[in-house]
Symmetry: C2
Subunit: 337 residues, 2 copies
């Protein structure tokens, strides 16, 4: 039985939406998978009752503390030993659960990832990534989306390998095309950091390096399945994509009521307009769910602070996929080779 | 009389669309302004005749050579002394025209900007910028969009001043809010380059520095009128915006026939959907026109290689605004102070 650990107290709207998302996920995960909720047991049971959901469908690990957004991540991780995040990481380290996800403090999640789960031997710097939507219902992987800035070329180049293995094993993309984000396609383009990285990626025979990709092409999916970028640049891209999604949404796209009303109609009038909805929906972080931490010894996923129930549900499903893929084992094998 | 120099031979679809755009611009510029076309005189006259436009409405400077996209910019600029670009820059340097714009070789345009027009004394590095659309029909300025990568902090900080003066004098924004593109709002965020730049911008009393801005906010216009970024990051943002515009367009937004048909209807149903069209239309490079080179002694604007007639027309109108603003004089004054 596969055990998916979820922080019931994590996120701006926890525990309410965390529980709602967990209940939604019950029908989407395998029958053999089980969700383990970490948090205030009384509150969790109350909320499950409100959803008419038997508490027995979950494992509950009672915790009494919560790491708040304002807390200093490293201090709180130690200073609140009975917090849902700290207890969750300890369970993960002890093998009582197979993965741990939270929409709570990103800082505390990174502390747990680095200090409790720890980087896999040979990984210079673990990295956070995001599945980005590409047209035609495919996904590509962008990494780093913000963990390491001023990354050395050897760190960036290793993202290529980490991302390639993730894309293959978790996203199911065969022989993923790895590209380096740059401001031109030609080999000599870019800043000093990417020029040096280009050489290292080109020399790495373990990956299918296809060269530079410009930001204009990452959402088309035509060039690359894995896009390597420094954390500063990757974070900028991710936030911009989210913002344009929100603008598009607020201005009448996405989930607006009017759009929901118009959608079947538009779908009938034009296949293109229908796909447009899908593209922008996929751009929504709600369908992406969470940001996996890649390069550590067990699956950890960090959700958006403002996660909705749908986002939590997506995160649980992504986590299940990642656990099944046994990413850490594959990374260890690749790094030993 | 104000004289706007246009390279009739520049761009993938020149001279046809360049001439078409120039004809479109005739009704949009002031009666006292005059467009000066540089290129193959015979071809220009033929095309003007096809548009039913009297050749007398333009000044024509006959040139016999063209710098092609495949040419080495610096070599071609010298080696083709009678090219439309080289002759255009010479006219600009001699004061025979007040500004020069081309959708042709970006490299050759930069060579002319740097070697013929030259940086204003005190400008460390001239910069290229782009007006980016923000919601509610306003514009913000992003710079650098790709001229200098690995820019030193003092270079980045000076973009703040250059951009501020441009936004005030050309875009008409009073006391423009200048922000530094970063991956967090807090002062201590970012890479080494932006941290050092932050300090310099903060200390510059000539500008209205409002701190860091994340890419999520640059298109909302809520935080900043001028966004300072390294050329690598700014170029990535610009290309991504263009790409998402194209995806939105191809998937049914922008100028599609269906959209044109639906637009008045949508406008009636929902003001929001109507604004959505406007936002995405403004995202189109066609309405932006060209990329001004800021920090040199005379107005120069570089158009998109694939410029349509509408884009050329917008570039001519932007150029007229820039000439009227007398940007170079204002920059000289600010840098002397």
């Amino acid at each position: 039985m596969l055990k998916i650990g979820i922080d019931a107290m994590g996120g701006d709207f926890a525990p309410e939406v965390a529980i709602e998302g967990a209940v939604m996920a019950l029908d989407r995960i395998d029958a053999e998978s089980r969700i383990v909720l970490f948090g205030d047991e009384k509150r969790i049971r109350e909320l499950l009752a409100q959803h008419g959901c038997a508490a027995e469908r979950f494992d509950i690990v009672a915790t009494t503390e919560v790491i708040e957004m304002g807390d200093h991540p490293a201090k709180a991780f130690i200073g609140k030993p009975d917090s849902s995040i700290t207890v969750g990481f300890n369970h993960l380290a002890e093998g009582k659960i197979d993965g741990f996800a939270s929409a709570g403090s990103t800082g505390a999640m990174l502390v747990g990832s680095m200090q409790v789960i720890k980087p896999i031997e040979g990984v210079i710097r673990p990295v956070i990534s995001s599945a980005i939507p590409v047209v035609k219902n495919r996904r590509a992987l962008l990494l780093d989306v913000g963990l390491n800035v001023d990354a050395k070329p050897e760190v960036l180049a290793q993202y290529g390998l980490l991302g390639s293995i993730y894309a293959e094993s978790v996203l199911g993309i065969e022989r993923p095309r790895v590209a380096l984000l740059n401001i031109g396609e030609e080999e000599a383009k870019g800043n000093a950091q990417v020029k040096a990285t280009f050489e290292l990626l080109k020399a790495d025979k373990r990956i299918n390096f296809v060269g530079n990709v410009e930001s204009s092409y990452i959402f088309t999916g035509k060039v690359a399945d894995v896009v390597v970028a420094d954390g500063f640049v990757g974070n900028t891209i991710l936030k911009m994509a989210e913002a344009l999604y929100r603008i598009n949404d607020r201005l009448g796209g996405g989930k607006s009521r009017l759009k929901s009303f118009l959608r079947p109609l538009l779908g009938r009038i034009s296949e293109k307009l229908y796909y447009q909805s899908d593209f922008w929906d996929a751009m929504n972080y709600e369908s992406v769910g969470g940001t996996p931490v890649i390069g550590i010894n067990a699956p950890v996923m960090i959700g958006h602070g403002g996660s909705s129930a749908k986002a939590i549900c997506s995160m649980i499903c992504s986590m299940e996929r990642e656990i099944k893929a046994d990413l850490a084992a594959k990374l260890r094998k690749a790094l030993r080779a």
